[in-house]
């Protein structure tokens, strides 16, 4: 049997390149360079390894601005077979609830024969780790998060994961959704030649809201139950205490002011000075 895997991925801003308005502590996200979210790369690597062993077709799927096509090209260079880009200004501002709804709609329409959906366990920007589990709900299939190892067995998949100090072995029915942790499945590099070839290939489908049969009320910020009130840099707002003087004096000042907090962290009492 030949499997069909769908790998969901997200383009995230490169953290070292974050264009920062240091006065307001705000991020100029519009100016940031994008990259494939690291955990999504691990998910793709897991899919490619399964493809090598069992034979499969891999579709990579992302929702984002037009430039998110770059990460789909990179995925093709790594070993994916085709890509789907969901892009539409009306899709912007979607929270995890609406993102998982939109991705599920694309999967049921474009990849109805899918066996396994693989996602990264979390993104480096919003870090919610919610889209994978919500996608499983939306598709009404099995779902397991933080998977470290996958072993396909016809209509089920055997999974290993670490969760809360337990090593778990789980048998999951197919079709299903897994989110992949970043301990194993170290991603391969896409070769330059592979990248060049990937940019020439005609294997990316671009779909907008209408193409998914969705109205503006069902997607993006409009449909999202959560509202972000404010995003700020805690560093920019931090009350910063500055200590100066000899090494002996600053250490005494430090332990006088923060001795309790340090004692709590080390789980031992500190005698007062003197």
């Amino acid at each position: 049997m030949r499997y069909h895997f769908v790998v969901c991925m997200k383009q995230v801003p490169m953290v070292s390149e974050l264009p920062w308005d240091s006065r307001s502590g705000r991020l100029r996200r519009d100016l940031a360079d994008g990259m494939m979210n690291p955990a999504c790369k691990h998910a793709l690597e897991a899919a490619i390894q399964l493809k090598d062993r069992h034979g499969a077709r891999i579709t990579v799927l992302t929702m984002g601005p037009v430039m998110a096509e770059e990460i789909l090209r990179e995925a093709l260079a790594m070993g994916a077979d085709s890509g789907i880009l969901l892009t539409d200004p009306k899709m912007a501002g979607a929270d995890t609830m609406v993102t998982s709804f939109t991705l599920a709609r694309a999967i049921t329409r474009e990849c109805p024969d899918f066996d396994l959906v693989l996602c990264g366990c979390h993104t480096s920007d919003s870090e919610t780790a919610q889209v994978g589990p919500q996608l499983a709900e939306e598709l009404n299939v099995a779902g397991v998060a933080y998977v470290e190892k996958l072993d396909l067995q016809h209509h089920t998949v055997r999974l290993e994961r670490e969760a809360d100090d337990f090593l778990e072995t789980i048998e999951m029915d197919l079709p299903g959704v897994v989110t992949i942790a970043t301990q194993r499945y170290t991603p391969r590099y896409a070769s330059l030649g592979g990248l060049q070839e990937a940019f020439d290939r005609d294997s990316i489908t671009v779909i907008d809201a209408q193409g998914l049969g969705l109205t503006p009320e069902q997607i993006g910020r409009n449909a999202s139950p959560t509202r972000i009130l404010d995003v700020y840099s805690p560093a920019a707002q931090k009350e910063n205490i500055v200590m100066r003087g000899s090494a002996k004096k600053v250490v005494e000042d430090l332990l006088d002011q923060f001795g309790d907090q340090i004692a709590a962290a080390i789980g031992k009492d500190l005698k007062p000075n003197g």
Binding site: E127, A129, A142, F166, P234, K238, V242, M243, A247, F258
Partner: protein
Amino acid sequence: MRRFQNSIWVYGDYRNYFQNRVTLQLLARAVELAPEIDADVCAVIFGHSVDDFVGEYIAHGAQKVYVIDHPDLKTYSSETHAALLTHLSRRFSPEIILIGATDFGRELAPRVAKRLGTGLTADCIRLSIDDNGLLIQTAPAFGGNLLAKTVTPACRPQMATVRPGTFQELPHNDDAVGDIIPVTMPEDLPVPRARLMRSERIPKRAQRLEDAQVVVCGGRGMGSKTKFKKLFELARLLGGEVGATRPVVYSNWIAHDALVGQAGKHVHPQVLFSFGVSGAIQHTAAIADADLIVAINKNPEAPMMKMADTAIVADANQVCSSLIRELKRRIRE
């Protein structure tokens, strides 16, 4: 007369209790928030023979505990718990549901939110109530470099997962009384499509940098490989671990697995000491979650000093020696 009493629910996550205290911590915060929206504080728990936990929840602030106790609930399954929590929430309509951001909680919560069609904020580190009675949920993004405040204006319940250790549990109160509300197991519970075959507790391993409660980070400002070694003595005194910046790792002052940064370990200790670190964003992105940051650097303008809670303008190496001496004198064993 109001038909419904508002309520704040805390999901009873008891796997790994006694180490896992997050349910008690959330009850404590719920007790503080409840008067602002005139709500009861309730715990919900699913399992088999869970009376001890029910008692603990009441002793730590729960006024009501909803209990589904059934032999089929012996294994912890997020699929089953999601079905049960959804069922109870539909029946009793809580205003807020708080869930500990354990691995289990972070898998469970999004499934429940999806079924209830409501909003969810992940891994909150602050919770408060605004003037309109909405729950303001503050959570980190970009490795703690940014904090986002989120609300769920219209959908109910308002749901959040909350990072363990964020709030202090209340002292155990033996005299506390609470209502225990047994709920019968729904009959139409679906058979889980993901089945736990085996579960072993992972043997306790040597403390890892990323789990340490105290981290001592060193940069090139420590001066030399020999001087850098002092940080190990300091870490030993503090029961902590040593981390390093990229230049230090490249200079072979310490092994590569001690790298703290975007490409290395992310740490979230209670206290982080930063000796002679200038603070490139790849490094600061990986430490921003620390509760207290103490930075020591000769240059007061270094980015690391700007993001520290306490910036000590001095020679990192001298302060390290002085701190070791002073701690040896003051720590009561």
